[in-house]
Symmetry: C2
Subunit: 254 residues, 2 copies
DNA sequence: CGGGATATTGAGTTAGTTCAACACAGGTGG
DNA sequence: CCACCTGTGTTGAACTAACTCAATATCCCG
């Protein structure tokens, strides 16, 4: 039933939206039966991608929108000489590809960090969504606004925080988002990131990221072994990063 | 008819949307008569703010959404110790305050750079908009996606471009946006910005911004006297900045 | 004329960079 | 089973882009 292609993408049978594992999460807005039925129709496929696979590619034109159902991904842009900036991380419940319709082609790429499962929505049914389900239209605007808010906060980090503050902020941010999705413990967090990803997200070099990280560990603020991070002194981290706690919240669209 | 309060904000009589000066611009999507009538109702007031006035304030709760009708403004965030990051500049046609509904309170502030005229929309009529005018709902999502795209591009600058590249990019970006609005000449541009604004937008110090700017002038790429910038070698600037030209486009909502 | 905001420039410091070497793990093929 | 490779992490050393501090110039405004 499931094919796997060399590009790391494959299609598999649909999970019915009524039994969508994401909808059970406390953070999600409840759907009416009518909305549920619509979304069932709106979703035309499911896509599974391996780590490293490109879900969307800058400069290309995708006829699809996605909701990330399982796994981690990240949005990024590159400069002509291959400098890379990670714009944001996508977690379950995040909507991908919305910027596409605005401008003719995608203005950023999206790559899977883990194996990833996505709900696929054809872009041309979007107008139908707006027409028949205004509340869902509102949800889309909500998701877009939330996306911009996360990038805003990230830009504040990269523009005005020091390396240590940036790392602190990023970890608190990801921890908070995972928490509301029940994807991690109280102080523990499994991150499918290399230090290169962290560096590219924070606008730092790999070496300096490593050294700063080691320093934070030496100071007892956190541990990071393998793919597991433990926030050993969350209070101090918050203070360091000037962290406000407004992340986390998710809403539809599944 | 027009009152001016000490906070720099004042209300004045409405300009009818049918005669909205912005709607004439080539970049705007045409409205149907029915949409026009709705927007007339959606818009409940007009607001004039002086340079330096706060249109929206981080941590506060505004019951209003705005469209910038005339003038310049900027969105920004600050850290507890007053470091400031400018997130984006708002030009006529830009929508402000959308992030508000998503999270309880505003996550960033907006300040007027010049005297500014705004259309005021009550937030609670937004649902009505989605319900009765799906196309306008789509426009709002479009504007939100465009907003995120601009911040994405800005984040790439601050994270991965050098100081000179950042300045080049910012000027090309603003020039391009002003061009489509007929607010500047082919190579000339009136910027109501101090170098402090530029520094805060680009994540640089004031001194370094000045020195880099001087260097670009010395190299003949541009001039900047008073509030007027001239791009003397646009090609070289584009090359320097790795500039792609995807800005500019505006759409409603007026 | 004086005061506040802005711009400019020099001098010294530092946070972050690049280069380079090495350690370690997992995976593959002989 | 070992030899080897590739991706990742760690650390030291040298360098530099960008920073802070400080002084001066300029302009506008009351």
């Amino acid at each position: 039933m499931t094919r796997r292609a060399k590009n790391g993408l494959s299609k598999s049978g649909n999970v019915p939206c009524a039994r969508c594992p994401l909808r059970k999460k406390a953070v999600m807005r409840p759907f009416t039966a009518r909305e549920l039925e619509f979304v069932e129709w709106f979703k035309t496929a499911e896509l599974v991608a391996d780590p490293g696979a490109n879900i969307l590619l800058e400069g290309h034109n995708s006829p699809h929108l996605f909701t990330l159902l399982e796994g981690w991904a990240f949005r990024y842009k590159t400069l002509p000489d291959a400098r890379r900036q990670i714009l944001s991380f996508a977690l379950p419940g995040d909507f991908l590809g919305l910027q596409g319709p605005a401008l003719k082609e995608m203005q950023h790429s999206v790559e899977a960090l883990t194996q990833v499962k996505l709900c696929v929505f054809p872009r041309e049914r979007l107008l139908h969504l707006y027409q028949k389900h205004p509340e869902l239209g509102h949800d889309i605007a909500w998701l877009a606004a939330r996306g911009e808010h996360m990038v805003d906060e990230h830009l504040l980090s990269v523009g005005r925080r020091t390396a240590a503050e940036r790392i602190g902020y990023l970890l608190l941010h990801l921890h908070s988002r995972c928490r509301v999705l029940d994807l991690c413990g109280h102080r523990q967090l499994k991150l499918p990131l290399t230090q290169q990803h962290v560096a590219d997200a924070l606008g730092l070099s790999l070496v300096h990221t490593n050294k700063t990280l080691r320093r934070l560990v030496r100071q007892g603020l956190l541990t990071w072994s393998g793919d597991t991070v433990e926030l050993r002194n969350e209070k101090a981290l918050r203070e360091l990063a000037g962290y406000d706690e407004t992340d986390g919240a998710v809403r539809p669209l599944i």
